[in-house]
Amino acid sequence: MAETSANGAAAAAASTAPNKPPYSGKPKRPNYNLIHADPLPVVLYHSPPLIPHNPLSLLHHLYLFFFPPVQSHNVKYIGVFSPVTMSVEVRDPTAVLDLWNKGFWGKGSLSRSEPTWLNRELRRLGDTQVSETSEEITRRRRDQRKEMKKERARKEKEELQKVKEAEAKGTEENGSASSGKPTIADPKVVVGLEAEISGLDETVAAAEHPHPSIPAEETGLPTPPPSSDELNTSDGESKTEVVNIGTETLPVSVPPTSESPPAQPAKVVRFDSNTSTKEIPAQKKVTVQNQEHLQLMLSEAFFLSYALGILSVTTKDSAEPLPLEETFKLYLRYATFPPLPESSTSLTKLNPDNSFLINYVVYHHFRSHGWVVKSGVKFSVDYLLYKRGPVFSHAEFAILIIPSYSRWEGRDENIGKEWYWLHSITRVNSQVKKTVVLVYVDVPTADEVEGWDCEKDGLKNVLAKYKIREVALRRWIPGRNRE
């Protein structure tokens, strides 16, 4: 099922620019406004125009009101709860595509964000029909930066050499007894500096020819990842992935390719722009089994299951979807590590101070106000807020959740974090131009939520009892606010 030829994402990307001849200029960005037009994976119903003076139209509208011809979401996606990665995995390609395109849910298990592993793999094997992935663009930019740094280091070295030569000449002319300034420089330091500069050259050279045999570590500099595969796994999120593959027994062998051996680099054939599109039969097409799935955070998965009602969650043990309260219990248990024992979590005696609940309250709060909420683990925060989505703009806000227990008897309110902790986080986030927002969540007591599990909309009422207060932080510099 996963081996749909030229996968869905590629098809979507291609469909936006259907009849344009391939040209050699800068590749055009897909029309994200079209691909990501829907903020939720549900279907809108566009009613026919109402004509007030036409009784038939009125009747028609009345009929439509009571018997709507379109159901917004009768589709149910299936996700599998994975206790190892503490996430929900979605494997059906159409579901993955839908969830990503309509609301940017989850992330690809082998990608930085959008599930692009298949496209990258196809491109690596020489498929010419797939457009460039964001990972490739990033890598190219990093290479350019490396090149720039190398060039800068070279220039600095030249400059230094020039100064040294001039100074050596000067001392020769003046003689050793001249009153020139004393050289305080330590020759050892100079040697060290030169070694470092040459070391930089070496590492760059090593990066250019990806032969892992060159031990670049000896120079003492951080080694750039030698190959693309390592680059993709260097994002920190993938640690869990390794575990995942280990437990699951996925076929890790070389994916089956249709014809040519994958080691041979594919030729990129360029056609003249006046060649008609029908005459391009030589385009290469490769079939690869997709080994990537979509990972949903527990908050995301629960929002899809509970708030929207379009995701059913199963466990590895059975294909039967869990009822929603079982899913809820499961998430509550897996909010901590190691997970709570099954006996300690009951719905009637709900503990409101559960980190899954607190995280979910915040997630729901921002999602329901139209933000696209993604995990902020890369920036040492809880969530990132995107307006419309990650393909449109960078995240502007970084969310830090601060639980508060003002209603809890006998619980000390003032066990705050240290200032240095906050300063380190704001520093990291100002480097990437994000504003850190402290989200204080005032947690209700267990008494306040009692009896929720037999009320209608009980969970909604529980969520409403958490009070939320956002405080945005910005560094303030006296020298820059005087005007």
């Binding site: 549900v42 300034k181 420089a185 500096l193 708030a307 703009s393 200032w419 009980g458 409403a464 207060r469």
Partner: protein, 413 residues
């Protein structure tokens, strides 16, 4: 499409030049007699010795320039010599004659026309050499009998105080070293700084000529309350209440004409928008909280009037890293309570992002860590009041402007 930050470079607004070590050679141009040199541009930063004479001589030049600048003789002309007497019991300094431009934004005169300085103002002026301070022994303490005390009083009066002596005498009355450090840092940066009237110990300074209190919030949350009640009624009438599925999906399948309609159903109404402190957190605790507004700060302006300064530009709260941590919700709430609030429309004028960043009101927390001050602005953001555009931009027949407008701030890069 996240970048890892290196490409975006530094945010100019966040780079504090004073954090870096200065190249003091520019001082040589200023201290040179008649040298009309302008302050040069900052050059490349050297991180380690590279073994050249050029570098070491540059370093020497810079060091010499700094020493030279420091060794310049500082003098005062008799015309602007101002003097004051420190009154330990009142913990204020009395000005004898006010001269100089600094008094425009400092001190306060009582009914008799005598000018009084707060301890931090006194310390600041003595430290920068604008004022000479004398010590006065109070008659009541020193001479209970009153006969032989006269000679003693005569001796004690007019004893000049060193900077150290002024620190020793007045520091406690400023509210602690951290507060004074922030005060002098802001003053040296050019700001006009006054204590929060609540923090004044002397009645003379307590009444201020400006409105600084927030008007009591009127009718906030009314709409939501109303909706909540009617919504509940509606639910009761149409759907019945009480027992039911606690996990009822918030978005029932059906025909929706816009995404905004769906998001309305997804919203969780919270009855109280502002958090009200309970008995546990309020009262006594709130009063002793270190998180209270310490200073009111105005941007430097030529027509500033002490008597009618207008509302402050910034509110600063000084805390020490030694005895405080990240403020709790109750502390944050107590801090914001003292500050006037702008309404939503005013906050939104600057745009969505800017409005959320500045918030309805904000306070600057100056955290002092062993003398190192870092300022951070805490803003009351109210994300809950803002609903983003969720519906896709109208499919455009010749409406390119609309497209951009919906997207809001253009994507970076």
């Amino acid at each position: 499409m996240e970048t890892d930050g290196l490409t975006t470079g530094f945010d100019d607004g966040d780079v504090d030049l004073s954090d870096e070590t200065q190249d003091f050679r520019f001082l040589a141009n200023i201290t040179k007699k008649g040298g009309a040199g302008s302050i040069p541009k900052r050059g490349e930063k050297d991180f380690e010795p590279d073994g050249t004479n050029l570098q070491s001589s540059t370093l020497d030049d810079s060091r010499n320039a700094m020493f030279q600048a420091l060794s310049v003789e500082r003098s005062h002309t008799g015309k602007t010599r101002a003097t004051a007497t420190w009154h330990p019991t009142r913990r204020l300094a009395q000005i004898h004659e006010q001269r100089g431009v600094l008094f425009k934004a400092m001190g306060r005169a009582d009914k008799t026309g005598t000018m009084w300085l707060l301890p931090e103002e006194l310390m600041y002026m003595v430290e920068r050499g604008s004022l000479e301070c004398f010590y006065e022994q109070e008659q009541e303490i020193q001479t209970p009998a009153g006969t032989d005390g006269k000679s003693e009083q005569g001796i004690n009066i007019n004893v000049p105080m060193s900077v150290q002596a002024v620190y020793a005498a007045a520091l406690e009355a400023t509210g602690g070293l951290e507060r004074y450090q922030v005060y002098s840092n802001l003053k040296r940066s050019g700001y006009i700084v006054f204590r929060d009237p609540e923090g004044q110990f002397d009645d003379l300074f307590r009444n201020v000529g400006y409105e600084y209190k927030a008007p009591p919030p009127v009718g906030r949350g009314w709409n939501i309350w109303g909706l909540g009640i009617f919504g509940a009624l509606f639910n009761n009438v149409f759907w019945g209440t009480g027992k039911g599925d606690p996990f009822q999906s918030m978005l029932a399948p059906g025909a929706y004409r816009s995404y905004a309609e769906m998001y309305k159903r997804l919203a969780i109404p919270r009855k109280e928008i502002t958090w009200t402190p309970t008995a546990k957190a309020g009262g006594e605790k709130a009063k002793t909280s270190p998180f209270t507004v310490t200073y009111h700060v105005w941007k430097p302006r030529p027509n500033f009037k002490k008597s009618a300064p207008g509302p402050p530009d910034f509110y600063v709260c000084v805390v020490s890293t030694l005895d405080t941590r990240l403020p709790s919700l109750a502390e944050i709430d107590g801090l914001f309570k003292d500050i006037p609030e702008v309404d939503r429309a005013t906050a939104r004028e600057k745009g969505l992002y800017q409005g959320l960043k500045e918030g309805r009101r904000n306070v600057i927390l100056a955290t002092v860590d062993y003398g190192v001050i870092s300022y951070m602005k805490f803003s009351d953001s109210r994300f809950g009041d803002e609903m983003l555009d969720v519906d896709p931009p109208a499919k455009g027949k010749g409406k390119p402007g609309n497209k951009g407008g919906k997207g809001g701030a253009p994507a970076k890069k």
